[in-house]
């Protein structure tokens, strides 16, 4: 369970100050606010793309958080020390994924009620399945994002390169998550034809987790 220790370490660094939760919260609110200025939230169309809107916010916050994932180890050459320690590449990678996952999920869970208020959408009846979709989508995003964070950690253009590489590859999961979230927010259950999206999301998570774990060791040791 070494990866849990790595995750705990990252989370501790991140949550060093109590302000960080406040920061995530206000960050989410601010983005939602921004969207409400860009698109008329009172229009009928909102219901149709509520899932899309929400996941855009998540993807945006995700890029910011994932950028830090490995970059955090750069000052003081901590990454070298970790790689030279008995912690395996896969454990290190998994630990960092879990830490980003927890951070992002926190932001998302805070976002949801705020979103509900701003856009007048009821989500409480569907809270549990929504949480499930959030978890599945976020896991896909963090597993891929952490891998790319490791790939780009030594680049000077890291901040632009990471989202540029991540978003296109993440799209299948993102699309599925957007669609499923929209369905749930409209008050419907996921059934029938829509199960395809759920299967896509789960498949994406499994395939990319396996692929990442298999390849990460090669990435970290140069």
């Amino acid at each position: 369970m070494v990866f849990l220790q790595i995750a705990a370490k990252d989370l501790r660094s991140e949550l060093r100050t109590k302000e960080s939760l406040n920061a995530s919260l206000s960050f989410a609110v601010v983005i939602l606010l921004l969207f409400s200025f860009a698109f008329d939230p009172s229009s009928e169309a909102v219901a149709e793309f509520s899932g899309g809107l929400l996941w855009l916010v998540f993807a945006f916050a995700g890029a910011l958080i994932l950028n830090r994932s490995f970059a955090r180890e750069l000052p003081n050459d901590c990454l070298e020390v970790l790689i030279a320690s008995p912690v395996s590449g896969a454990q290190l990678f998994l630990g960092k994924t879990v830490a980003s996952f927890v951070l992002l999920m926190t932001i998302e869970v805070i976002c949801l009620p705020i979103f509900g208020i701003f856009y007048d959408i009821t989500w409480i009846p569907q809270a549990l399945p929504l949480l499930g979709i959030f978890a599945l989508g976020t896991w896909g995003m963090t597993i891929l994002g952490t891998l790319f964070s490791a790939l780009t950690v030594n680049l000077s253009l890291r901040e632009l390169m990471l989202p540029m590489l991540l978003y296109p590859l993440m799209l299948p999961a993102l699309m599925a998550a957007m669609r499923l979230t929209t369905i749930l927010l409209a008050g419907n259950a996921i059934a029938g034809n829509d199960m395809v999206w759920l299967r896509l999301l789960i498949g994406f998570d499994i395939i990319f987790t396996a692929l990442s774990l298999a390849l990460v060791e090669t990435i970290l040791v140069r």
Binding site: I6, R12, N76, C78, E80, A84, S85, R222
Partner: protein, 232 residues
């Protein structure tokens, strides 16, 4: 003959087409301490990084405890002190050490013990960000010694330490040596290193131009090695 703790066998390393290491071979046994000496840019850090498994050799082979440096069993027995101090600025001294204690599977009491040995106990709960440069280096020393490694790889360990801390580190190293640990360190503070070294290696532009036991002359006059074995 038993397997040496550390064996470097015809190692080459290139950066682009610049040969940072050229055909380097040597080996060390338990209880030996090698002072790796060389001018700025000679290739000392490059060599130590390859030993620590942070970087791969282009040709040749490195064996630690008869194993590849990337083997978890080998890594568990390495203590690394590089150019960077390898601790987190935003965490406190004790948090940092506790994290590394966990990663190496030693108890948290050991972390506190090393904080005391490096005389940082009074700032155990201050974030590393607030440490002076020498205090940071002490913490890095504590981190490297934490799990009682069988092989210590130290890159300029005396940097930023005051006279007392240097004496302390020398004491720690002498103790480790006496306990049969192997030490390899690069440094420009030759006086401090020669007292400890059992062996001395001189690298010049990536080539190992001398490897041998430390002689009495070297102890008396640190630049003796450069003058006797160096080309330029």
């Amino acid at each position: 003959m038993p397997e040496p703790v550390l064996a470097v066998d015809h190692v080459f390393k290139y950066f682009g087409d610049y040969p940072a290491l050229h055909d380097v071979s040597f080996s060390l046994n338990g209880g030996e301490c090698l002072a790796l000496i060389g001018r700025n840019g000679a290739g000392k850090t490059t060599m130590l990084k390859i030993l620590a498994g942070l970087s791969g050799a282009a040709q040749g082979e490195v064996r630690l405890f008869g194993d590849s440096p990337r083997q978890a069993s080998a890594r568990r027995r390495i203590g690394l002190l590089g150019h960077g101090i390898g601790v987190y600025d935003e965490l406190t001294a004790i948090e940092n050490l506790t994290i590394f204690a966990q990663l190496y599977g030693v108890s948290a009491a050991v972390a506190r013990h090393w904080l005391e040995r490096t005389q940082l106990a009074h700032v155990a709960n201050a974030p590393v960000r607030e440490f002076s440069r020498g205090m940071r280096q002490r913490l890095a020393v504590a981190r490297a010694f934490l799990h009682d490694p069988a092989l210590l790889i130290l890159d300029e360990p005396f940097t930023a330490l005051d006279d007392r801390a240097i004496a302390l580190l020398q004491g720690l190293l002498a103790e480790a040596k006496a306990a049969g640990r192997t030490i390899i360190m690069s440094t420009h503070q030759l006086r401090e290193a020669m007292e400890l070294a059992t062996h001395v290696a001189l690298i010049e532009r990536g080539k190992l131009v001398h490897f041998g036991v430390r002689s009495a002359e070297m102890l008396a006059d640190p630049t003796y090695v450069y003058r006797t074995f160096g080309a330029a």
